[in-house]
């Protein structure tokens, strides 16, 4: 077995080591990267921008801490943006841990100076309806009656006591829905039920792995915009002018991608050379 054969069957732990190094090193480096905006992110931002202050935005947190590195930066940027712009936010979660993630996002958002100035109030500027089990059927039920689906918020207050929830009956009283999703139930269900059945205007933030599956919906106009993974988060941060972790982590991301690409190239070189050697 020659060197290239060995290289082709390299112990995967060596690859692991390089990946770890590529992710860790950039944390201690400061290199500035230029971020370009992709059309699907622009689409989402435009949809947000078209909302006048006071509009009602529903944000569904359909993920858990496992996907937080990707989705939390989006959530934080969206919350900061909504608060700073005076949009009213209705939060809910189709995943049990979703509403906890929402509270964490709001905590970070409230630290921003722009948001502090606006001093958003619970009940008036945002509400957290909490988690409701039932997956896509929760969406469907909301299509006919939101207060019946969520009779109380996450703290147990009746929704009729919350000023923001006044006059909210179903999706037609909500101006925009933004769904942060890491799987099922998630964007696909929001498209099928909220957008298809009840014609709600829908945008989404997805883990990068979910995102490719959503392009058909994007092209069909069932989704107005889409943030895919950390890159999507960093682009959205750039558009809204609220730089956060998405931008910060992007460097590790670039390094890690490069290392994988380098390995793929090495693998192919080794493959061709060792095949060439054998032919001789």
């Amino acid at each position: 077995m020659n060197f290239f054969d060995k290289l082709m069957k390299i112990d995967r732990r060596i690859i692991f080591l390089f990946v770890a190094a590529a992710v860790i090193l950039p944390f201690f480096l400061s290199i500035h990267q230029k971020i370009l905006i992709s059309p699907e992110v622009q689409g989402l931002y435009d949809a947000f921008e078209s909302l006048p202050p006071g509009s009602k935005v529903m944000i569904s947190y359909d993920y858990d801490p496992a996907s937080a590195p990707e989705l939390q930066p989006m959530a934080v940027a969206a919350m900061k943006y909504c608060f700073a712009k005076g949009l009213k936010v209705i939060i809910l979660g189709l995943w049990p841990q979703g509403s906890i993630q929402a509270n964490m996002a709001i905590e970070s958002a409230l630290e921003d100076s722009m948001v502090k100035e606006k001093n958003p109030q619970y009940g008036k500027d945002w509400v957290n309806l909490g988690y409701m089990s039932g997956n896509e059927l929760v969406i469907q039920r909301m299509g006919t009656d939101i207060p019946v689906t969520f009779p109380r918020d996450y703290q147990g207050n009746p929704v009729e006591d919350l000023p923001l929830m006044q006059g909210i009956k179903n999706f037609s009283n909500v101006d925009f829905i933004f769904n942060l999703s890491a799987g099922y139930p998630g964007t696909q269900e929001w498209v099928q039920f909220a957008a298809d059945r009840f014609h709600a205007k829908l945008g989404a933030g997805n883990t990068a792995v979910q995102a490719p599956g959503m392009y058909p919906y994007l092209r069909a106009g069932q989704l107005v915009g889409l943030l895919g993974g950390m890159k999507g988060a960093s682009e959205f941060e750039k558009l809204t002018d609220f730089e956060g972790k998405g931008t910060k982590f992007m460097l590790s991301q670039s390094f890690a991608h490069s290392i994988i690409i380098i390995f793929i190239i090495i693998g192919n070189l080794a493959y061709f050379i060792s095949r060439g050697v054998k032919k001789k």
Binding site: V19, L36, Y215, R219, H257, I264
Partner: protein, 217 residues
């Protein structure tokens, strides 16, 4: 009794479900909600079976002093720890609120385990792509190239490398093109296929042609 009633039940429920999609009038319009609630309740009962099985298999390991019996004991203890805390010491149905003992376990035990298990995928993605993305054939080359362009195009570094090119053929644009056009087309073909497969399977289930799930008599 053992097979007929279940088959009739499947057929009836399936047909009612389908019909209710076309009839907004009560009671059909609300059938979906009701049935879905029922399924959730049944699943909540069923998890007792799973939990009992896990405990029984683990206890069996300890009892017979099988290899690694110690770890089985750890599993049993962890299960009871969180179950007891969740049922009795965490504000009842508000067990997930911040500050409960359940939440403490969730944040410091469950969540790091879950997030790390998810995160080691980063390493597996690297080793899988090293092995799988080799230009062995024309098909494999397409796979490789698509992965290559999308991977680079999705991070800012891709645009740094291809910065000298005109804007509309830079790597991020190429990646967007691949995702939007051929990827989207392939995805759609898969989706339509899946749609047909599911429709036909659903139909076979409703009509009782596919009844393997019921087991034997």
């Amino acid at each position: 009794m053992r097979r007929e009633i279940p088959l009739i039940l499947t057929a009836t429920v399936g047909i009612v479900y389908i019909i209710s999609f076309f009839i907004p009038h009560r009671p059909f319009g609300s059938v979906e909600t009701l049935f879905s609630d029922w399924i959730l309740i049944i699943a909540a009962f069923a998890i007792w079976l799973g939990a009992l099985n896990l405990l029984r298999v683990s206890a069996d390991k300890i009892y017979r002093k099988k290899k690694d019996w110690f770890y089985a004991l750890v599993t049993i203890l962890s299960f009871f720890l969180i179950a007891i805390i969740g049922f009795f010491f965490s504000r009842g149905s508000h067990f997930q609120d911040v500050g409960t003992s359940f939440d403490y376990l969730y944040r410091n035990v469950y969540n790091p385990l879950s997030a790390t298990m998810f995160a080691i995928l980063a390493f597996f993605v690297a080793s899988a792509s090293y092995r799988a993305f080799r230009a062995r054939s024309w098909e494999a080359t397409l796979l490789l190239l698509a992965a290559f362009f999308v991977m680079l195009g999705r991070v800012p570094i891709g645009d740094m490398i291809s910065g000298f090119l005109p804007e509309n053929i830079r790597l991020s644009e190429v990646a967007t093109f691949i995702m939007n056009i051929p990827q989207s087309a392939g995805q759609r073909a898969i989706m339509i296929g899946i749609g047909l497969g599911i429709i036909s399977t659903a139909l076979r289930l409703i009509l009782g042609i596919e009844r393997t799930y019921l087991g034997g008599d």
